[in-house]
Symmetry: C2
Amino acid sequence: MSSAVRNRMQLHQQNIQSVFAEVFNHQPISRIEISRNLALNKSTVSALYRDLKDQGYVEELGEGDASNVGGRKPVLLAVNRKYGYTMNFDFGYRHLHVMQNNLSGDVLSYKQVNVKGLTLKQILPLIDAELENISANDHSSHGLLGISFAIHGTVDHNKVTYSPFLDMSQVDLEDYYTQKFQVPVLLENEANVSAVYERDFNKANEQLSNMVTISIHRGIGAGLIIHQSLHRGIHGEAGEIGRSVSIDGNWDGEPRKVEDYCSEDAIITQIQDQKHADNMTREDVVRLFKADDQVTKSALTGFVRNVAGIIYNVANNFDPDVIFLNSPLIEALPELKPQIESFYAQMAPSIRVPIKLTKNSHYATLLGGCALVTREVLGMEDAKLNFGAQTVVL
Amino acid sequence: MSSAVRNRMQLHQQNIQSVFAEVFNHQPISRIEISRNLALNKSTVSALYRDLKDQGYVEELGEGDASNVGGRKPVLLAVNRKYGYTMNFDFGYRHLHVMQNNLSGDVLSYKQVNVKGLTLKQILPLIDAELENISANDHSSHGLLGISFAIHGTVDHNKVTYSPFLDMSQVDLEDYYTQKFQVPVLLENEANVSAVYERDFNKANEQLSNMVTISIHRGIGAGLIIHQSLHRGIHGEAGEIGRSVSIDGNWDGEPRKVEDYCSEDAIITQIQDQKHADNMTREDVVRLFKADDQVTKSALTGFVRNVAGIIYNVANNFDPDVIFLNSPLIEALPELKPQIESFYAQMAPSIRVPIKLTKNSHYATLLGGCALVTREVLGMEDAKLNFGAQTVVL
DNA sequence: TGTGAGTTGGTTGTTTGAACAAACTAATCT
DNA sequence: AGATTAGTTTGTTCAAACAACCAACTCACA
């Protein structure tokens, strides 16, 4: 209410943002096309565009093709590729993933750094080195614009509140990097950024307003896009579906959580125990499954049933347009997907929510973080922005 | 995006709505106060108010008190109490609840009609009679403005898609009443309107953006307010938490739903079976509980544990600012609430979502429907409207 | 108790400025 | 050359802002 457009100046600012969003989402685009899309007079668009250009956000890309019945060629406009860049990180169990993106969300560089067994304080200098290295080779006009971190754990008010396999309580990342660079620094749960990725980077989802991304890694969490915006909850704990307990009338002993049955960790531990093995990894499970190992096959059948149950419950809770699965295990064994779908179909005979796999989950979290921090840089948190409109993957 | 304010006319319309919202939410209010609240010039507010008055939406209520340091008395403005009325219905199991409200959401009349055992086609003439009776005694300028129905079941696109105890597939209520009166007719799930009630009628919730109302009647459902707006889901099935199944690794036989364990029906049936009784009602259960009956007490302990588990799961899924319980059984036995809270506290030792009871659940659904249909009448679906600002309960 | 200074609510007439419209230039096609 | 399209320039429009005013009140003080 109080943030609503109410006077001419606010109207002007909003229209500038609308023009920028058009350039962002449909680059390369001409002024006349923006004018038609926004139902704004072409002279108005020209004036608004001039403001954006003075601020350096946009640039001309050259001439486009004229219409086939004659007429002047349009001048193609685009987001300034040399405006600056964001740095986006993902703390994986074994690797730190590092990505550099420009203002449009295009990937400028990507790198994995081995951090297995290191503490956060030991990782910090590695991050600093990456930032310095990138900064030294940069030729953009504004340089570093913002930093994002995808966290495998919960985040509240930009602080890590819980992180299962890397102690993050010793360092305040937001504090450290805002002090150092005076740019927006953003921490966000990994399932949440993954959901933002689907909203902002996946053109197929442009018209969808409700999406749930179920992330099955060492734990289980969901990222929620509701009414086109990320639902974090008051403590940043919305979508912590791995903590759900069974409601079945049995209350003997400690209630067990969903995560205890069907996280990737739970499955690996289960197979390990039955095989009296040790230190197994996802790759081992994949290998055993492909070698037709019966213990593994039956464990994964249980996994598949449980995932179907989770999907059924998520569908009943949120009734989204689509559910994404972000699971390296299922990504490695795509034959599990139809099994999940068939168990789900048994549970929900009539109305079902479509299920899709998130491809290349590491990129997803980095790009989701990129989208969030870029929006903050632009002050366009709520606008409809279509990142990666012409992303060139390296 | 495309609905954003972009030209002077749209700006003007939005500002008219802002002024109306101020009158609506803070009536009685003076022009100067609106001007200060909206940061609009007082002459602008005067002009916008004049438009609203010409359309009949508002009226002057007389003079207020002057400031204690002198100065002219303000003229107090309010929503026109004689503009028209909405009719709001709730199909209960035993009664049809009927409420007439004015444009501000004030209760003009309330009535229960016995409909136990009747089919929808038999109930229809009773509804028509109520509408005619009210219409005959009305002296407002625009008469009937809209109709809402709270449905114990699921609703999609204003059609009932599932209704457990009253067959509603034979009659299209929206069709029938729009044909008859040419006013907006709205069908909505009972848990959803209950959630809207908490958002729009409960001043204590004004600052809250995420609320879940758990409705425990013959089934279990949740109404979701997320980011201040009702989340229905793509098929209108969001919040159907009663259908959730347990994820516990056991997949022998048909999975049982939450509803099977802890709806009011399930509890009554359970007690009935153990007592070899028949046709028990909620009132019987309440009586037995108060008479210290052990079977009832132990059944309700199970109920309380299950409700705590449901709350825990809802908190993990949505992480709302508050959870409301809309349950006639708990309303009748308020001593159950602390028990629920204590079981919940055992499950979630650190972060907990506050739990509150919805008072007078029948009013809640009617008023929630009133809020929804009134918003549609005004074309102000997304504005922040504070209904019942000065509701006089009859 | 009466008067005038100070204060506040609301109206009237004028100014402002962002979007708009029309007329223009530029560049292309057939 | 005539038709068509892209973009610019120049002047118009109209809702909000502003300034000056009127209306009506309080309070202090004679």
